[in-house]
């Protein structure tokens, strides 16, 4: 490519460079990927584009998506929370057993309890990471085991059953708020969507949100700029715990029957959603919407590929692993290349 063509290309890029950031391009590419997957599956699989498929995916994405939003906040600050699966399990069981013991407890109290318990566990993670200066992966690998141990001891081999819960809990997940044709809008999905909207706004337009990006993309510069990095990390972990607690309540509402192994593996699913959703594991870039789209894409590909290729459920994990790798690789290679173009554009602008 001659120097001249590069110059021209760069010039055309500078026009829309100012309007679109690489992260937004990432979200756009996710939407395109999802649309392509829907088209291919709809064309190849009979009855794939039905309300049933949509409802099934929406319900299962609601819980992982909620956890993934919290995970995004933590990953943005260059940390990771591997204890979220245990937090989801603990809050689901704890709130479930409280509701079983006291059927008169209302919905607001139950939700508040779930969020508070989750928030407390997140706060502990955050204190150890931010003020104890223990790397997040060590801290949350430890609390993953500790919170699960608390749950197993608390549960003592008993199970929360659907019959013991007040009827509104189970109704909550089955209710249809609004139906367009056969497409049902369920409360679980609405709660998660509302949370995404809130955090998309918080991350993009509030001081707190922008500071999270700042300490993630360059911790040293953020410190020199006087940002309270420790407090911000603490808040990110606490919010992550609160959202995991809320997800625990959704888990209880969806399944009704809770054992001591509830929520196991959600930590990996949430990290997968975040990574596929374009949140950089080195911190500093990514959005809540991206994480939700990532969770949606994973679930869609899982369901679609299994039915399309006629392969068994056992292929799921192998495909998920491959998908995560592809996402990370494309993130590093393509975005790295794009950022270079962006930077070159900026230099050309600067030179004029």
């Amino acid at each position: 490519m001659s120097n001249r063509t590069v110059r021209i290309k760069v010039k055309t890029m500078t026009a829309w460079r100012q309007r679109i950031r690489p992260e937004q391009l990432r979200e756009l590419s996710l939407v395109v990927l999802i649309a392509a997957a829907l088209l291919i599956f709809g064309w190849q699989i009979e009855n794939f584009l039905s309300a049933r498929t949509f409802n099934r995916i929406a319900t299962s994405v609601a819980i992982v998506g909620m956890v993934a939003i919290g995970q995004t906040l933590v990953v943005l600050t260059r940390n990771i929370d591997l204890s979220v699966g245990s937090i989801v399990g603990f809050t689901a069981y704890f709130v479930g057993s409280q509701l079983a013991a006291n059927n008169a407890m209302g919905a607001p109290v139950a939700v508040a309890l779930a969020v508070a318990v989750g928030g407390l566990m997140g706060l502990i993670n955050g204190l150890i990471v931010a003020y104890g200066r223990v790397p997040a992966i060590i801290t949350t690998l430890g609390t993953l085991a500790i919170y699960r141990m608390l749950l197993i001891n608390y549960a003592n081999a008993r199970t929360v059953t659907v019959d013991s819960l007040p009827s509104w809990v189970v109704d909550f997940s089955r209710q249809t708020l609004l139906s367009i044709g056969d497409f049902a809008v369920r409360p679980l999905m609405v709660v998660t969507l509302a949370t995404v909207v809130v955090f998309q706004f918080v991350l993009g337009y509030t001081v707190f949100g922008r500071r999270l990006y700042a300490i993630g993309s360059n911790p040293e510069a953020a410190r020199f700029a006087g940002l309270p990095a420790q407090r911000l990390v603490l808040i990110a972990f606490t919010l992550c715990g609160m959202l995991a607690g809320l997800a625990g309540f959704l888990f209880l509402a969806r399944f009704g029957t809770i054992t001591a192994v509830a929520g196991q593996g959600i930590e990996l699913e949430s990290v997968a959603a975040v990574v596929v959703g374009g949140v950089n594991t080195f911190g500093g870039s990514g959005t809540a919407l991206g994480a939700l789209l990532g969770a949606f894409l994973i679930d869609l590909l899982g369901q679609g590929l299994l039915r399309w290729l006629g392969i068994s459920e056992f292929w799921r994990d192998a495909l998920l692993g491959l998908l995560i790798l592809l996402a990370v690789a494309s993130d590093a290679v393509i975005l790295g290349w794009l950022r270079q173009l962006w930077q070159r554009g900026a230099e050309v602008n600067h030179g004029r």
Binding site: T143, F314, D317, A318, G321, L322, V328
Partner: protein
């Protein structure tokens, strides 16, 4: 502080103190605790994990992490089981499992070393993906019925009272100490972990060495998977699931920094002894497996938190004394003027 005193309060000294304490408590509760058979048994129960912990030490000192080891162990175990079931001779199946381990390690290593992806993300994908391949192979079955010589190799003593896996561990431990602490390669591994940029500028082929470390990690994990299959006598899709927590805990408790470049195998060896004896002691007290894992989790966090707190307290103390000195100097100068 004298050099001897400093050595005593070092991390290894701390681990040694805990180890002695645990052994004293355990021996007072069960007199047969220190007998050779119990000690061999105690090693035997987690031998596969401690073998992998040796190579994990290399990975972490090199500044990376390998979350996929437990899945590689499971994959290797499933491979020999499935191949054996379909009529392949067992030695050939073992060879295939080891090759699979090398492939997994090389796959991780290529992405990390040559593409430059973070090892945390790559091996997380590997952890899910390799386990997925194992599930495709074995589905929801449980395969056993291995020939007697194979299970005997995993369960019976081979040389005197020592079983094969323990002998292998001893040989590997010696080998690992020679390579990591006394050879040029070992020094280079530390340099890369400390500062990869400096290593690259001084002409070290960083990517090749990183690839080598990941391949070794895959190979050793596969070998541990074979040993696990031999000891258990039956293999399922979730064999070795969750082992990475214990393995990484052993290494980090041994004083190896998660950021690379710091730590040694003596510390890891002591940490292994502490964890094995602690778990065995808790079993003697009828503490269940989950609580044991929880206690190990607490230990993992404390192993990093406590030194940090001590250092922070020391820094604060130092700051206060320097401040006081400054005040003194100021008052002196103002008095003289």
């Amino acid at each position: 502080m004298g050099a001897n005193l400093r050595r005593l309060v070092s991390w290894e000294g701390f681990l040694l103190g805990i180890l002695v304490l645990v052994i004293i408590v355990n021996t007072s509760r069960a007199p047969a605790y220190l007998s050779l058979t119990n000690q061999i048994n105690l090693f035997q129960l987690s031998i596969e994990k401690i073998i992998v912990a040796l190579v994990m030490t290399f990975v972490i000192i090199n500044g990376e992490i390998d979350l996929s080891v437990a899945s590689v162990m499971g994959l290797a175990a499933c491979m020999i089981a499935v191949l054996f079931e379909s009529g392949v001779p067992l030695p050939l199946a073992i060879l295939a499992a080891l090759i699979a381990g090398v492939c997994c390690g090389a796959f991780n290593g290529l992405w990390v070393a040559y593409v430059g992806l973070p090892s945390l993300a790559v091996t997380l994908a590997g952890m899910i993906g390799y386990r997925g391949v194992a599930r495709i192979l074995i589905e929801d079955r449980s395969i056993g019925g291995f020939p007697a010589w194979f299970t005997a190799l995993g369960q019976q003593p081979l040389l005197g009272p020592f079983p094969l896996s323990l002998i292998l561990f001893a040989v590997l431990f010696a080998l690992a100490i020679i390579i990591l602490q006394f050879s040029g390669i070992g020094r280079i591994i530390y340099v890369i972990g400390n500062n990869a940029a400096v290593a690259r500028y001084s002409g070290i082929d960083t990517p090749r060495l990183k690839l080598g470390v990941f391949v070794a990690s895959g190979l050793i994990a596969a070998m541990a998977g074979v040993l696990l299959a031999a000891r258990l006598g039956a293999v399922r899709g979730n064999t070795a699931e969750g082992f990475e927590l214990d393995i990484i805990t052993m290494v980090l408790l041994g004083g190896v920094s998660i950021f690379g470049g710091v730590g040694n195998l003596v510390g890891v060896g002591l940490a292994i002894l502490v964890i094995l004896n602690l778990r065995n002691g808790m079993s003697l007290l009828n503490v269940t497996g989950n609580v044991q894992t929880g206690v190990i989790g607490v230990l993992l966090i404390l192993s990093v938190l406590l030194p940090n707190l001590v250092q922070m307290a020391r820094e604060r103390l130092q700051r206060r004394t320097t401040q006081r000195k400054e005040v003194q100097v100021e008052t002196e100068t103002s008095a003289s003027s």
